[in-house]
């Protein structure tokens, strides 16, 4: 199949060798599981259990109450110890609503529905099963998958793209999953194709993963509508818009969805979760996590229950060789630092990467020399140096006019910058600040409404008071007049 070129991008050393040849291992049961109620984009889930309740593996703990949200299930059987606030696996380390579950080590499943043939289900039933299983995009974006599988109603779709690019250095969890469970992934892909009613599926795998490529080719050999495609290794190949452009040559319009050009992109790990959920009714309660980085004693790929503390993963991998300078969730390009190793693993965690000071090589920023390396590297065709200059000077509108909202925060610009200007960091700041301002604007409109309502109400009260006074006066005058007449009569 003919592939198309994308602009920009970088070629970081992939360092996948550290963990690529380690088979997926299950983790021992942790002492406590802490399950955050928001592990996805959208509204937090609402708890349906109480403190002290005994729950079974796969039992619903918190239900999604809005269109964009995802349910949360018990990763094992045990007792609910608390429903409260706990440090979020988020760079801010702010508290988030979390359910604490103490495993009883029986690991007893809730009664699951009998295995069904997904192709006898109606399309809405498939979407409902995916929603009930609490599946979110497992590549890291954590957008509720059921919403994406329901896109057929609003868009004309023709292609499903499976993202197995895994372009971030160090990460090997999707690679291992494709090698070891290719048939399950393929079943998930067929279910998703059916739910979306698309003609074809393209599985895109970067050419630095020949084993995964071979495994997926073999698994898909019987299905002529599913093609496995070898895409060049280049960061950010795994960005959905860039992957679609590489495969089809079509560019997704700015700030639009790939569905606008008839394509839906899902991660391969999501396909695996869909297979589990739709065929067996098993909710999303675990995932594969790569533990790697120069500071890790024995890098591994682990099958981890959602809610397991990151510290347990690190301990299982033998701890640190040396004190890491950064511990990240996700890859080194787009991952976020975790505030503490006590935070739990959530649905969107594809890796825990502990980097040494030598690997991170953080150097103090120097003035921009306008070399335009960042312009060459930007896969979105933006001018990072100009945008960053505006963001630094507080001219956020200026940055937006230059295309800030089209930036995917891939970090290619900061990676190539010879002056070590924290370019992508400026963009993350500017985007956050803009969202905050939007919210402030909304509040301002509300304030105006409240102030106006109050002014009207006070005016009403004054008027009522005046009228009452007037009435009293008239009443008094009348009484006086009446008294006078009676007096004269007497």
């Amino acid at each position: 199949m003919k592939l198309f070129k994308i602009r920009g991008g970088v070629h970081p050393d992939d360092r996948k060798k550290l963990s690529a040849n380690k088979a997926i291992e299950p983790m021992p049961m942790p002492k406590l599981l802490r399950i955050p109620l928001q592990q996805h984009i959208g509204a937090p889930a609402e708890p349906v259990v109480r403190k002290g309740d005994k729950v079974l593996k796969g039992q619903l703990l918190a239900d999604s109450k809005s269109v964009i949200s995802a349910a949360v299930h018990a990763p094992t059987s045990g007792q609910i110890m608390a429903i409260g606030n706990y440090m979020a696996p988020h760079p801010s380390g702010l508290p988030i609503r979390t359910i604490t579950l103490k495993p009883d080590h029986d690991d007893r499943w809730i009664e699951l529905p009998a295995e069904v043939d997904p192709f006898t289900l109606t399309l809405d039933e498939i979407v409902k099963r995916v929603a009930d299983a609490g599946i979110v995009g497992m590549g890291g974006a954590t957008f509720p998958s059921a919403v994406k599988l329901g896109l057929r109603k609003r868009y004309e779709l023709h292609t499903l793209v499976l993202n197995g690019a895994e372009c971030e250095p160090y990460l090997t969890c999707d690679d291992r999953l494709m090698r070891e469970q290719a048939d399950d992934i393929l079943d998930g892909i067929r279910i998703m194709m059916h739910a979306l009613q698309v003609e074809q599926a393209l599985i895109a795998i970067e050419n630095n993963k020949p084993e995964a490529l071979a495994a997926m080719r073999e698994a898909s050999s019987g299905f002529n509508k599913i093609k496995v495609i070898n895409v060049p290794t280049r960061y950010p190949m795994g960005s959905e818009k860039h992957l679609v452009q590489t495969l089809t040559g079509k560019e997704t319009p700015a700030r639009a969805l790939t569905a606008d050009i008839g394509i839906v992109v899902h991660n391969v790990a999501t396909a695996h979760a869909v297979h589990d959920a739709v065929r067996f009714g098993r909710p999303l309660i675990s995932r594969v996590v790569t533990v790697s980085g120069g500071a890790i004693q024995q890098p591994r790929n682990l099958h981890v229950l959602i809610g397991t503390p990151v510290q347990d993963l690190l301990d299982y991998c033998g701890g640190f060789l040396e004190q890491p300078s950064h511990i990240l969730s996700g890859g080194p390009m787009m991952g976020h630092p975790i505030p503490d190793t006590k935070v739990p693993v959530i649905k969107g965690f594809n890796g825990v990467i502990a980097l040494t000071a030598k690997e991170t090589a953080i150097r103090p920023p120097m003035p921009c020399i306008r070399c335009a390396n960042c312009v060459t590297a930007c896969p979105c065709g933006l001018v990072p140096l100009e945008m960053a200059a505006r963001a630094r000077n507080g001219d956020l509108q200026g940055a937006v006019d230059l295309g800030l909202m089209d930036c995917i925060a891939c970090g290619s610009c900061a990676y190539v910058c010879p002056a070590h200007v924290p370019l992508v960091q400026y963009f993350n700041y500017a985007k956050g600040e803009l969202t905050l301002r939007q919210r402030a604007e909304h509040k301002q409109a509300e304030t105006k409404r409240l102030a106006e309502q109050r002014a009207v109400r006070i005016e009403h009260q004054k008027k009522a008071k005046r009228e009452a006074m007037m009435r009293r006066r008239q009443e008094a005058a009348r009484k006086k007049a009446a008294a006078q007449t009676t007096e004269t009569e007497v």
Partner: protein
């Protein structure tokens, strides 16, 4: 000669008459810029700028009697908008963005005097006579009108707690400075 004088005189009178009519019927009420600026201001009539309400403040800004940075609840975003509206260039990095504050009632001290919620321009304080008052923080604009009026000093201003939804990455410069000081 006579024809030229007559025609020009008539023309002059006619045009003068037209101008007179126009000045009467097409009269501009007030300064239109003031209305546009007032639209941008928060509209909570809090008086923190020193003017009695947003209309007066908008008037002062429109007549360049006041700086565009006078409105504390509007913050940096408002300064930016006013600067672009008025065509003023301002160094935005020099403007300090104050952290948003909301009022908080110390319930142990509140005597239920109702003074504060009569003052509140956005009805953000709720309560009744001889009952403890409370702040609806979503509606509070942080104008501090209730702070001075309270006879028991039970109203205090507190910074709005940052939640996961509000949090965003800080500006990188601040990060760089802390790193340097560590080294």
């Amino acid at each position: 000669m006579l024809a030229a004088i007559t025609s020009l005189t008539i023309l002059g009178i006619a045009l003068g008459y037209l101008l007179g009519l126009a000045s009467r019927y097409l009269k501009v009420e007030g300064n239109p810029l003031q209305a546009e600026i007032e639209e941008l201001l928060p509209g909570s009539q809090c008086g923190q700028c020193g003017y009695p309400g947003c209309t007066a403040a908008a008037d002062a800004i429109a007549n360049s009697q006041a700086e565009i940075t006078i409105c504390p609840p509007g913050g940096l975003a408002l300064v930016e908008k006013l600067a672009s509206k008025l065509g003023v260039s301002i160094d935005l990095s020099s403007v300090e963005d104050k952290a948003p504050m909301v009022a908080f009632v110390n319930e142990a001290l509140c005597i239920g005097c109702t003074k504060c919620f009569k003052q509140c321009p956005t009805d953000a304080l709720a309560g009744g006579p001889k009952q403890i008052h409370t702040v609806i923080s979503d509606a509070c604009t942080g104008c501090e009108k209730c702070v001075d009026i309270c006879p028991t000093e039970c109203v205090a201003m507190r910074p709005v707690p940052i939640t996961l939804q509000d949090w965003h990455w800080p500006k990188p410069d601040a990060v760089v400075v802390t790193q340097v000081s560590v080294v």
